[in-house]
């Protein structure tokens, strides 16, 4: 398969479990070396020049990359420091609808973790935001929040690629859609 | 039996020599056979 996204586009990837959505996103996020073929971002190869691409990309997936023994604000602060980003923690938490809590992440509910993980992936202010099942484990409020955040980012020029089982929710953000079947792009059923 | 060098010279000890040589041959031949066996298994 081969596809191109323009800057500021929002693309939806759909398909059954095991159709290759997550693998594709991980390749785009430089988490996985493509066995075959290649992907570029503004002409720069995503894998061979991954050092240059990584500051511009952000992947939000089921792996939250949070440290369980630290509190939510601490997690965000450390990630911001590691990347050298402005640690505007309270605004970030507010954006994803979390309060400033000092309990360790271990005590958080599944939905709260998802929101915190989303806040973490937004710390970078990425040019390309990859969302893997962003609506999973979230209540209707949470889903609306994700749609809202995604639309805001898109308006400010961020490119979005969303892999999801819920095309109806994602349709509120995306205007393009690719349907995958066994690793190949097929017509939307 | 071996008498541990009372006057400096060790006497006898052929049983140790034979142990050493036979072990060497068993190990080397055994490894060679295992290589042959594994190569055959891999070829199938």
């Amino acid at each position: 398969m081969s596809f191109t996204v323009e800057r500021g586009d929002a693309l939806m990837l759909t398909g059954a479990n095991g159709s290759g959505k997550t693998t594709l996103l991980r390749c785009l996020a430089t988490a996985l070396k493509p066995d075959h073929g290649r992907a570029t971002w503004e002409g720069v190869d995503l894998w061979t020049d991954r050092a240059a691409c990584r500051p511009k990309l952000s992947l939000y997936s089921h792996a939250s990359a949070l440290w369980e023994d630290l509190s939510g604000p601490e997690n965000l602060r450390i990630w911001a420091q590691l990347g050298g980003y402005a640690p505007n923690i309270e605004a970030r938490l507010d954006e994803v609808g979390l309060e400033l809590r000092h309990e360790p992440v271990r005590t958080y509910s599944a939905g709260m973790r998802r929101r915190l993980a989303l806040a973490r992936s937004l710390l970078k202010e990425p040019e390309l935001l990859l969302l893997d099942e962003p609506f999973a484990a979230l209540d209707p409020d949470g889903r609306a929040l994700v749609v809202d955040i995604a639309n805001k980012r898109r308006a400010s020029g961020t490119t979005l690629i969303i892999a999801t089982h819920l095309p109806d929710e994602a349709a509120a953000v995306c205007d393009k859609r690719i349907h995958l079947e066994a690793g190949r792009a097929v017509a939307v059923p | 039996m071996i008498i541990f060098a009372t006057q400096g010279v060790i006497q006898g000890g052929w049983e140790y020599v034979w142990t050493a040589y036979i072990t060497t041959w068993v190990v080397l031949a055994g490894y060679g056979v295992s290589l042959w066996w594994r190569a055959r298994k891999e070829a199938r």
């Binding site: 570029t40 | 060790i10 020599v17 050493a20 040589y21 072990t23 080397l28």
Partner: protein, 315 residues
């Protein structure tokens, strides 16, 4: 030239000839070319062991027990040699992932290497030894990089080729090392009256063998081929570099003096048989490595993913 060397020269000649013939053969490499050196090694081994048992003179102090040396010492030397191959191949496998850097690195190590050797000529004492050591190390690196470049350019060597050689050499080294430890124990019973002494040589060998057993196990417990290659090559390099440090540390730790088992301290008749057996072990291990390399290559082919059609170009 001492009499023992002629057998080595003949063996290396056979090896070079068969390898060259196999490489230059039109229509690809013929399987089993390494049997030539294997048969030669077997013949040498039978002759050498017979000589060690019956033809060599008994030692002045250890009498007939010293005959164990004709298997013990070659096992020690050649297990070390096999680990050296494993190290050199692991380094090569890492370098061949970036083949373009090879000529640069070769030149960048050759120049200071030659400079250091020149410096060593002018120096004396410890400084001379140090300069010579690092000079030789750099020149060896330069030579290996040059060889890797030639192999990559003209003989289609890849990272995988050398990784398989490293895998094979590690296993052969471990087999010889285990044999060495057992023989050392058999030898030490009549000479020191114990099965095991904590002398530096013995302890360092045991640690060395255990380290490489660990490397082999690491290799067998990683599933992804490329990850496995990188990890085990790095582990091989670290394990090899650790050998001299281990030896130094246990030497300082317990120093029980022990007869030196180098040819210089033995009578010339004994050195002849020692050399002969060492050559036999060397060629036998070359044969083993070659056989084991084929198995590793066959396994890699079996687990390789199926070929995909070429990817479309990105506009």
């Amino acid at each position: 030239m001492p009499a023992g060397y002629i057998f080595g020269v003949v063996g290396l000649f056979i090896f070079a000839l068969t390898a060259l013939a196999a490489t230059l053969r039109p229509g690809g490499v013929r399987a089993n070319w390494e049997h030539g050196i294997g048969l030669y090694a077997l013949g040498l081994l039978v002759y050498g062991q017979y000589g060690g048992l019956y033809l060599a003179p008994p030692d002045t102090w250890m009498a007939d027990v010293a005959r164990i040396l004709y298997v013990h010492v070659p096992a020690a030397w050649i297990s070390m040699v096999a680990f050296t191959w494993a190290f050199a191949a692991a380094f090569g496998a890492l370098m061949l992932e970036r083949p373009k850097s090879l000529p640069v690195l070769s030149a960048a190590t050759a120049v200071p290497g030659i400079g250091l050797i020149g410096l060593a000529m002018a120096l004396t004492g410890v400084q001379r030894g140090l300069a010579a050591f690092f000079g030789i190390l750099l020149i060896l690196t330069a030579v290996e990089c040059a060889l890797l470049w030639i192999g990559n350019r003209f003989f289609n060597w890849t990272s995988d080729t050398l990784d398989h050689i490293s895998e094979a050499s590690t296993e052969v080294g471990v087999v010889l090392g285990v044999l060495l430890l057992f023989l050392g124990s058999v030898f030490s019973r009549p000479t020191f009256n114990v099965y095991w002494t904590w002398d530096p040589r013995l302890t360092a060998s045991a640690v060395m063998v255990l380290t490489f057993v660990g490397v082999s196990l690491l290799r067998s417990s990683v599933d992804d081929p490329i990850t496995r290659r990188t990890w085990s090559n790095v582990a091989t390099i670290l394990a090899y570099i650790n050998i001299p440090v281990t030896y130094m540390s246990v030497k300082w730790w317990r120093t029980i003096h022990q007869l030196q088992s180098t040819p210089d301290t033995l009578s010339s008749d004994m050195t002849f048989w020692l050399r002969l057996n060492a050559w036999a072990f060397l060629f036998l291990s070359i044969w083993f490595v070659a056989r084991r390399w084929r198995i590793a290559r066959a396994r890699a082919l079996a687990e390789a993913p199926p070929e995909l059609p070429p990817a479309p170009e990105i506009p």
